[in-house]
Amino acid sequence: MRIRDFSIRINLVLLILFASALAVALASLGFAVYERQSYRASAVREVTALADTVGANTAASLAFNDRNTAEEMLGALATEPHILVARLYDTQGRIFAEYRRAGGAPGLPLSAQLHDGKYFDRNSLALFRGVVLNGERTGSIALVFDLSDFRSRLLEYLKIAAIVFVLSVLITFLASLRLAGSIGNPLVNLAAVARHISVDKDYSIRARIQAGGDTGLLIDAFNEMLSHIQSRESELNNALKSLKESEERYAWLLAARMTASGTGTLQPTKSTFLPAGTICLVMRQAKPGPVPNNGSTTSTSTTRNRYAPGLPHIAKERLRSSSASIACATNLAVISGPSVVA
């Protein structure tokens, strides 16, 4: 009983917890993806602005083939901790000047043949842009931006997500206990009533449970069904009772008649009423009777089966002797006839 009582509630609690955990996990995943996108978008914006600034400053250097000033300009990128590599290419795609962050990871390998645009690596972003001097392209610039910061940011984010996850599961658990009770309890109680009825066969019990919705309908239908069963049972009992009474009356009457006519005695070995096949009748004939198919006048005891084929004739015979015998014989035929023939 206890285990049953628990199981539906536990199932409900587990269901709610699972749904809540799934929702939080999906939301966290969605936010993580969004976070990654927005981080990358802001990285692209930042690196583009830097490339444009540095490009504007180095455009003339490229135009006048002045490597030293170009490298000086690129060296100014040392104040930008996220720039791993900066490169200038001339219009033929040859490396013109380069800057590498001291101690920085190599990042995305830069190829001089890459076209303008942005290229994402696992941990870096490479941006290629044209360098333009007064509308005239004098070369191109490539910047490699370090994205590994995002990993630490993601880690921070994961910590927060884990805390939110645990908290939400905890709160959901507490809330679901109440919720599971309000849904599960009526069903648990109904199950208890049903079990009680099936054990005790007491159909007068009614489920007195307050519930709405489908559970309420179920309980009402259950009670209605119980009422039907109860009324049918009492009808059946009444019929059984009256049938018993009529059988007893019949047995008594038959015995009384047979004794009165003196043709024999009919002794029901059992007073049970039905079916006909269960009745074992022992018929004793005191005098030779006009039984045509048998011919025997002195048989003292026969089973019903032996005499069975002759029963209609007995009925005819009894027809002549007395009115009481007619009733009995007819009854007998009706009761035993079909099963005897079968």
Binding site: N57, A60, A63, F64, D66, T69, L133, N134, E136
Partner: protein, 167 residues
């Protein structure tokens, strides 16, 4: 034949590019241009390899809102209509740049004394690379504004006033 008559070299190519980029980074006064100001005339004195290079590479090129036209002049005095004048090392001998003082003509030369004699930009070779010096005073007198980006790339920026001493 002189060295200048050789087919266009890398050096000539670079010089042509430099001249073109100078036009991008120098601002002329508004009255420096005739005929609506749609053309910028770059004049050379000698009909040499550099002239061919200029004709082939930057003739007709857009610089800002103007189109570059290369013009070959035979006389040093026939500079009317020129916005920019290139004077090679050979031609600069015995020439006086005083003629151009206060005229809005960007003078570019190669002679060692080009700046001190009143020229504005002097090209020279340093470690096999073309570099340039600027005489800001001469440019100022002609009301030419030289971009700070160009000044930044100059090997040296000086202020020679005409034939006088520097700085």
């Amino acid at each position: 034949m002189s060295a200048w008559s050789q087919p266009p070299s890398d050096e000539d190519h670079m010089k042509a590019a430099f001249l073109f980029h100078f036009t991008q980074l120098v601002e002329w006064p508004a009255d420096a241009f005739d005929r609506g100001g749609n053309s910028l005339f770059l004049c050379t004195l000698e009909d040499d390899a550099l002239y061919d290079e200029l004709e082939n590479t930057i003739e007709g090129k857009q610089t800002g809102s103007r189109t570059i036209r290369i013009r070959h002049i035979h006389f040093f005095q026939a500079t009317r209509g020129c916005n920019m004048l290139f004077i090679s090392k050979r031609e600069s001998k015995g020439l006086s740049l005083a003629t151009f003082r206060n005229l809005p003509i960007l003078t570019v030369g190669e002679a060692d004394e080009f700046l001190s004699s009143g020229g504005m930009i002097r090209l020279h070779l340093a470690e096999d690379k073309i570099r340039f010096d600027i005489n800001l005073e001469a440019a100022d007198q002609s009301h030419l504004k030289i971009s700070s980006r160009l000044l930044l790339l100059a090997t040296s920026v000086s202020r020679y006033s005409g034939m006088g001493e520097g700085r």
